[in-house]
Amino acid sequence: MQRKLSLFLIMVALVAVSPAAFGQWATTGTTNITVAVGPEAAISVNSATPLTTGTTLFDDYTGTTTFSYKIRTAQAGGSGSITAQVLTDFSPGNGPSVQNPPTAGDTLSYGCTVAGPGTGCSGSIAAQYQVDTSVATFGANARSSRAGDSGSLAWVLTNDPQYETGNYQAVVRFTISLM
């Protein structure tokens, strides 16, 4: 009698497990699709920004870097930022330099224009060698458009007569991050 009871219990257990494991059979079946949408950020920057001088002698060199970004910050307490950093100073030497300018006060600076949910930097910002400087900031629940939003940096490089003639190149790294 005890053995029969055990078999009966096993069969009941199998019957109870089967529907959960394989789903119910019916003319309709429902699946719940779940997605967890988290904070994300991405940026795309144009690869080259030539700086050119104006028509007046020793006008500063100017140029514009454009970028596009996508961002979604957390609804509660989320924030984000875009920063710029002179990763590699101008080369070859004897030209402009962010780290060791030939004359005190020579700068590579920029102003910001940022569309979308970001707040662009205010005024003129002096770029720094291997130090992040602010381009834009984002608050909680900031969301760019589906296609992404755009921004630009207007660069100004001091035109110091101390620079030797030649072509010089620096690398600026843009970073978009979430906090």
Binding site: F22, G23, Q24, W25, A26, T27, T28, G29, T30, T31, N32, I33, T34, V35, A36, V37, G38, P39, E40, A41, A42, K70, I71, R72, T73, A74, Q75, G78, N141, R143, S144, S145, R146, G148
Partner: protein, 153 residues
């Protein structure tokens, strides 16, 4: 000795079995789409003159509000090869107002082997979902019931 005739009338029938839920996940790159797949199992018997379809339709929209939008066509699905019948071709948008065909079964469909029947019982088809990763969607967890139906029996 008595002979007795036993007759049986088989009615067209169709049933479907799906997992209770799936989770869509995204890749490592920012703003890549969310994807996930599931197996749809089905059994059907159709009349010689009638085909049948396995369809899917969203029941409402993602909840809570502020989530992905079906109206924007953000949720699509594709079908793998069906073990029986003809699976959908290409990417289909998921709608809450109209059914989308997943598998079309032929007339005189049957399961369990034999001429014209599916050797597999139940037959299966893989359905893969893809959800666009729209930055405009606020962070959070969203859910959408999708109903699979065996129809046109």
């Amino acid at each position: 000795m008595v002979n007795q005739t036993v007759s049986i009338t088989l009615q067209p029938q169709g049933k479907v079995s799906v997992p209770s839920g799936i989770t869509l996940l995204k890749g490592a790159q920012a703003f890549t789409s969310y994807t996930g797949s599931m197996t749809v199992s089905f059994r059907a018997r159709t009349t010689p003159a009638t085909s049948a379809t396995v369809t899917l339709q969203a029941s409402g929209n993602f909840t809570p509000s502020g989530g992905p939008s079906l109206a924007a066509g953000d949720l699509t699905f594709t079908c793998g090869a069906a073990a029986y019948g003809t699976a959908c071709s290409g990417a289909q948008t998921v709608s809450s107002t109209s059914q989308r065909t997943v598998v079309t079964l032929p007339p005189a469909a049957c399961m369990g082997g034999g001429v014209g029947c599916s050797a597999a019982d139940p037959a299966t088809v893989q359905v893969s979902f893809q959800l666009a990763n729209d930055p405009m969607v606020s962070t959070g967890t969203y859910s959408l019931p999708v109903v699979f139906t065996v129809s046109s029996l």
